[in-house]
């Protein structure tokens, strides 16, 4: 009896499905409403990302990358301008390398002397500006043709 009922039900379903215009039905469905009801977080939680990544052949992906084109789009100067050179020198072996290669007692003395002379220059300029009460700042510097002078 039960098997008869099941057979009848399957037959009815087949007839109904055949009679349905699926395109018309789909056209009447608002997918946005359907998607709004879907909890994407729950869906994502159920995905095993490690397994997905395991299935990806990264070598193949890298092979398909045009590195030259990628590098051409990178502005190296901009990247370097964001590097904190001072922190790099202070916190890495680069500083030790610089000290051992270029810094001698004489170099330090010259650097120090020049720096203090520049400080005195600025101090004198500030005094003069205060006395004159007419501070206009410095003039635009000329463009130097030569390389910087080494101590």
């Amino acid at each position: 009896m039960e098997s008869i009922a099941q057979g009848v039900a399957e037959r009815v379903i087949d007839l109904v499905v055949e009679a349905l215009d699926m395109n018309a039905l789909l056209a009447r469905i608002d997918l946005n409403i359907v998607l709004a009801r879907v909890d994407l977080n729950q869906v994502v939680d159920r995905i095993d990302l490690d397994e997905v990544i395991d299935r990806i052949d990264l070598n193949q992906v890298v092979d398909r990358l045009d590195v030259n084109r990628l590098m051409a789009r990178v502005d190296i100067n901009q990247v370097l301008s964001q590097v904190d050179i001072e922190a790099l020198v202070k916190n890495t072996d680069l500083g030790a390398l610089m000290v051992s290669s270029s810094s001698t007692l004489a170099t330090e003395a010259v650097d120090l002397g020049r720096s203090h002379a520049v400080s005195m220059d600025d101090t004198i300029a500030r005094w003069v500006s205060r006395i004159r009460r007419n501070h206009k700042g410095r003039a635009e510097p000329p463009e130097l043709p030569n390389t910087p002078e080494k101590p």
Binding site: S103, E108, M120, I124, P141, P145, N146
Partner: protein, 205 residues
């Protein structure tokens, strides 16, 4: 003159009460560079018009050096004369020839260095350089003209040097006449990095 406080310096360790001891050195804090110039100043220094102190100190060094060389040459000449003729020469500042030779030597000293490189030894030491007003190299004509006009700034009771203090481009009278300027030529940025390397991660064990 002290170095400016570093904004990155770590907090000072607390000292219990006022017991007359000096503040402790920050433990693990960022060390300061020994140069009294900020990072911004060092980046923009090169090519700026040099100030009075740098130029004056360079001039003092040049005076000392040129006079020392002149005295050395006179002493050598006196020694040579005593060896060759057996009678020594006593140079006097009242001697006209000595005065003429001295001024000729001073002219040669400044003219040679300014026309050749724009830098006398004193200027090299202080990291300043004579350039054309447009930043080009001085050249023979401007170098000679500057050397000739240089005494004029003294002869006007030093008023020729007032331009260094009062003008925005810090040019003295002889700079205006020769169409030159004096600028900083040393790499202060590199010097600051050297000082950071010395004081910071670059400490040798």
């Amino acid at each position: 003159m002290t170095a400016p406080a570093d904004a990155n310096a770590g907090p000072l360790e607390s000292v219990p009460g006022n017991v007359g001891i000096s503040p402790p050195v920050p433990l693990g804090g960022t060390p300061r560079p020994y140069l009294p110039l900020s990072a911004k100043e060092t980046e923009t220094l090169r090519g700026q018009h040099a100030g009075f102190a740098s130029r004056f100190i360079a001039f003092i060094v040049d005076c000392a050096l040129s006079i020392a060389v002149f005295m050395l040459v006179l002493s050598a000449a006196s020694f040579a004369a005593s060896v060759l003729t057996g009678s020594s020469i006593h140079w006097s500042r009242a001697n006209t020839w000595v005065v003429v030779a001295f001024f000729a030597w001073e002219f040669f000293y400044y003219a040679y260095f300014w026309t050749a490189t724009g830098k006398t030894p004193g200027m090299v030491l202080l990291g300043v350089q004579v350039v054309g007003q447009d930043g080009s190299s001085v050249g023979t004509k401007r170098g000679l003209l500057r050397t000739l006009a240089f005494p004029l700034s003294f002869l006007l009771l030093g008023l020729g040097f007032l331009g260094i203090l009062l003008q925005r481009d810090r040019r003295a009278l002889h700079d205006v006449i020769a169409d030159t300027a004096v600028v900083y030529s040393w790499d202060a940025r590199e010097a600051r990095l050297r000082s950071l390397a010395r004081e910071g991660g670059g400490r040798q064990p």
